[in-house]
Symmetry: C2
Subunit: 110 residues, 2 copies
DNA sequence: TCTAATGCATAAGACTGTTATGTATTAGGC
DNA sequence: GCCTAATACATAACAGTCTTATGCATTAGA
């Protein structure tokens, strides 16, 4: 893993985009998907993930659906229309950010 | 400007790389250069910049040279050999980070 | 003459995320 | 059958990094 500080500020963006690309997901599933997509470089911790999901839900960006799997509970999250707008914003913002950084650091992208 | 949180963890990298590319610089000059290079998107605040410079100096990554300009003082910073190694590390780390993020977010680079 | 820009510096506070902890179910190795 | 790891949620104490606020002082320009 790279320095975990770099991840700061990207958590919402990651969660929102993964939800957009994979549809209905539950918390644990998100951590696993991100682990996979990042080739074991990004590990979302529960202490960061759950509060983020709750916050996005409270803001109306996500809605939930609780499902019982045997005796275990799963909370599925889905993007609301507002959430879908937010994803676009956040991803565009991140794309702009890396372009800016590439200029400042004089590095090649791709 | 993009969300300032994205900048978290990149300050040292930016400072080190700009110093590498432009040689001897003083604090205020660094803020101006970064402002330019980022096309007015990144503004390093003094409250973050000076402590960072002091820390890097304390760690032996930078050395300083104080110069009097009239009655005003300027502190020039230059990379030490250790500092030069650190730049490479940090820049490589950042490059890796954005590649990973591009995978996770499924966005094109460049 | 007054304001903005130059130039340094530190401290209080905010914001994110990590680490630690808690609870509980289920799958798999031995 | 038993124990551990994985699954699944959640919250609280703490740490790190940066922003905002403040302070001091010089110089350029309207």
């Amino acid at each position: 893993m790279h320095s975990p500080e770099l991840l700061k500020g990207t958590l919402q963006t990651i969660v929102l985009k993964v939800l957009k690309d994979h549809g209905r997901m539950y918390g644990y599933e998100i951590t696993q998907r991100v682990k996979e997509l990042s080739d074991d470089r990004i590990f979302l911790t529960e202490g960061a993930l759950y509060p983020t999901l709750h916050k996005l839900e409270a803001e109306g960006m996500l809605k939930t659906e609780t499902v019982n799997i045997g005796k275990r509970v799963r909370k599925y999250y889905v993007l609301t229309p507002e959430g879908k707008s937010l994803v676009k914003e956040r991803v565009a913002e991140f794309a702009d950010f890396i372009k800016t950084m590439a200029n400042v650091l004089q590095v090649q992208l791709g």
